[in-house]
């Protein structure tokens, strides 16, 4: 299986350790992983602001980088959501449709495609609060959102439960948005940060040592909020825990 590794711009610049963990994890699981060097971004920042025409060249570049892989995997739910659901600034050729359909977020890839049963190298003896980003929860359908009357399921909990020693805490509002929202984070910075303060405080009250998520962008925002108001909580991407990070 040839996997194209998509490392979105935020992770590339600010959270390289998340990219490294994703790469190492997929390699540990026995797959050939290639990082195409000319990749930049999925175009979501422009799309999210309504500038679809401005997305075209970036989306075309994405397709040039990732055509021909069995799967494209990214440790970022919101970017995968863009590629899969909104990536329509360019002509939808067979190649474009193929790349879009083969692009997976890491957790769903491990859960649905690889069906990984164990992470014997992983041990994380800490209390964690799971943050499902809105993109993973309500678009990629990682888990049952609290608003719907559906049987309970959670792909990230399924996967993380296989990690030795991990303990989950549940905040009072488990799937309330943290307030990042892409350009919203600066367009409405006061509301955005207020939501962030509430989110990290909710996890802290529930006793979480770590907030774990499949989206670094939410974590970046939450970390900035926690540091500002002095909530002593740590942040870690799900890829790092699954790859055996100890803390």
């Amino acid at each position: 299986m040839r996997i194209g590794l998509f490392i979105p711009c935020y992770i590339d610049a600010f959270f390289p350790e998340v990219g490294v963990a994703t790469l190492e994890l997929l390699e540990r699981l026995g797959h050939e992983v290639i990082y195409p060097g000319d990749q930049t971004c999925c175009a979501q920042p422009m799309a999210n602001s309504g500038f679809n025409a401005e997305c075209a060249d970036t989306e075309a570049l994405f397709v040039r980088n990732f055509a021909g892989f069995d799967y494209v995997v990214a440790p970022s739910g919101s970017c995968v959501h863009h590629v899969r659901d909104n990536f329509d600034a360019i002509e939808q050729t067979a190649e474009v449709r193929e790349v879009r359909a083969r692009t997976y977020e890491l957790v769903e890839f491990l859960h649905d495609i690889l069906k990984v049963e164990a992470f014997p190298w992983a041990r994380f003896p800490h209390r964690v609060g799971l943050h499902n980003s809105c993109g993973t929860l309500r678009r990629l359908k990682h888990a049952t959102p609290s608003e719907l009357h559906e049987p309970f399921y959670s792909k990230p909990l399924d996967v993380l439960s296989k990690v030795e020693g991990i303990e989950f805490v549940t905040p009072a509002r488990p799937d309330e948005c943290c307030g990042f929202g892409g350009t919203f984070s600066v367009f409405e910075e006061v509301v955005s940060t207020e939501m962030g303060y509430d989110k990290v405080s909710d996890h802290a009250r529930a006793g979480a040592e770590y907030i774990v998520s499949a989206d670094s962008s939410c974590l970046m925002h939450q970390q900035g909020c926690a540091e500002r108001i002095g909530v002593p909580i740590k942040f870690i991407h799900i890829a790092q825990i699954l790859n055996g990070a100890s803390a």
Binding site: C9, L23, T40, E54, G179, G181, F184, E227, R228
Partner: protein
């Protein structure tokens, strides 16, 4: 079955007052030797969005002022979140909940795609029932028609129940300009009327007010004790002040939750019974009806009645579900069917399903942005998620900022009882506003530059080659106005030693 909680108006619910003195289960506010200590003045109520000529409404600015009033913001967030939780509990009590939503959406879509037929059927049946039916193409026509009916009867005073349509029409200011006294009979709406402020929520219009705010308004307008913010005291005082006005009114007005085509009747759902007072006390009843309120059959109503109050307040049903079919003996009944842009919206491919809305407010209750901003920050008749997609259909320039007041989290679409894809329409409105050049120039320039940079790998690499330059460039191209807005209320990310790209070159370069 658990016993129902005592019904208290949700706008007046407040957290327990730790300083209250209670004796024999009764609260003593003015008992001798039990007076409360002097307290600092309560936090003043933040006001809504400010209008500046033709400039677009600045929701973010008004939201920031709401958040700067922490007692209000926390109360508002918690009170509405409580409604959302109650809604969830009701939902879990109904196994076929998702099926009901499907059904409700399908009935509404069916009715909207045959709106002309059903409206004619409704009109014919209403006329047969002895109701006078009027058609208004816009708000001005609505107001003129109602005024005409009142003039014909020599009516000088009107009592009415809550209606978002009449808010759309600027009905109260119009009536004031022609010398007719209007009295709102819904408690929350009456509070707002007395405070000369718009409703902030479609179901609970004064939900943004603390009870100390209500005490201040009532003290100023109906003469209550300014230091007494006990909810029972305030509710009773308002009732005593309003009842004589209700009894003396010349005409009554209601809105309409559902207009049933096969019976020609309108259905109004309230918790206070005030629609019945408005409709039944005076001899003249006028109902203002948005044309999208049509449902085909009385049987269909059952689906909506099961969904409406559960979605809105988390109660199984409204206290009153009143059917108005024809005038009583010696009385007169008028239906005013109002378009006001609805036909145009019906023709908008991406936005027509917003007409399915039954005004339950569930999207507002769940919206994390709305809960922290207050409904008045939107500066429009409709606030919250549904407002973001309806308001621009009235005026795309004035409300051009609203579709950006969302994180696109999608919770609104999931709670919507008629399954409007609200968050997808918010996203679609952003695209539409860019197409219509209704976004600021600075943002257009920044997004064009971002598109350029992100489609040229070499330029992109150079821009984020080192951590400090990445910090300078990355937020700027990802988020158009740079670090200022990021860093004002939260810390910037800690730049790592190298990018992932750099690490990969150094460690796995040969593989590429």
């Amino acid at each position: 079955m658990t016993a129902p909680e005592p019904m208290l108006h949700p706008e007046l619910l407040a957290s327990d007052d730790a300083e209250a003195i209670v004796r024999d289960g009764r609260r003593l506010d003015h008992a001798e030797a039990a007076s409360k200590p002097l307290r600092p003045r309560p936090e003043p109520q933040p006001r809504g969005a400010e209008a500046h000529g033709r400039r677009p409404i600045d929701q973010a600015e008004a939201a920031a002022r709401f958040i700067a009033a922490p007692a209000h913001e926390m109360m508002h967030d918690e009170r509405l979140w409580d409604l959302r939780q109650k809604r969830d509990r009701e939902m879990h009590g109904i196994d076929e909940w998702e099926e009901l939503r499907e059904l409700a959406a399908a009935i509404k879509e069916h009715a909207l795609t045959r709106l002309d037929e059903y409206l004619e059927q409704f009109e014919a049946n209403a006329r047969t029932n002895g109701v006078h039916v009027h058609w208004a193409k816009d708000t001005a026509e609505h107001n003129r028609i109602v005024h005409g009916i009142l003039q014909d009867h020599g009516a000088k005073s009107l009592i009415k129940s809550k209606s978002m349509l009449t808010e759309e029409c600027g009905f109260r200011p119009y009536m004031a300009s022609v010398g007719i006294d209007v009295v709102e009979t819904d408690l929350g709406e009456r509070i707002q009327q007395l405070d000369n402020e718009d409703p902030s929520h479609v179901v609970v219009p004064a939900v943004h007010k603390l009870r100390t705010d209500v005490a201040e308004v009532f003290a100023r307008t109906i003469g209550t004790d300014p230091d007494n913010s006990d909810v029972h005291y305030l509710a009773k005082a308002q009732r005593q002040a309003t009842r004589p006005l209700i009894l003396a009114a010349d005409a009554g007005m209601t809105g309409c939750n559902f207009a049933v085509a096969e019976t020609g009747s309108v259905v109004v759902c309230t918790n206070e019974g005030n629609a019945d007072l408005s409709a039944n006390v005076p001899k003249l009843h006028i109902a203002s009806i948005g044309i999208e309120k049509i449902i085909p059959r009385l049987d269909d109503l059952a689906v909506f009645v099961r969904l409406l109050s559960r979605s809105a307040l988390g109660s199984p049903i409204t206290q009153y579900t009143s059917h108005f079919r024809g005038p009583r003996e010696g009385g007169e009944m008028h239906f005013v069917l109002v378009d006001n842009g609805r036909s145009d919206r019906l023709g908008m491919e991406e936005f027509w399903t917003s007409l399915k809305c039954i005004r339950c407010g569930a999207c507002m209750n769940t919206c994390p942005v709305y809960r922290r901003s207050g409904g008045l920050s939107y500066g429009a008749t409709y606030s919250g998620p549904i407002g973001l997609i309806i308001d621009p259909t009235f005026n795309a320039h004035k409300y051009s900022n609203l579709p950006f007041a969302s994180t696109l989290n999608g919770s609104c679409s999931n709670v919507c009882p008629v399954k409007i894809n609200i968050h997808e329409q918010i996203y679609a409105w952003r695209r539409e506003l860019v197409k219509r050049h209704e976004v600021p120039l600075a943002k257009r320039v920044a997004m064009k530059a971002a598109g350029e940079l992100l489609s040229h790998p070499a330029a992109y690499r150079a821009a984020i080659a080192a951590a400090d330059t990445a910090l300078a460039h990355l937020p700027r191209f990802v988020i158009y106005n740079g670090l200022n807005a990021w860093g004002r209320h939260r810390e910037v990310p800690h730049p790592p030693k190298e990018t992932f790209h750099g690490w990969y070159q150094a460690n796995r370069g040969a593989k590429e």
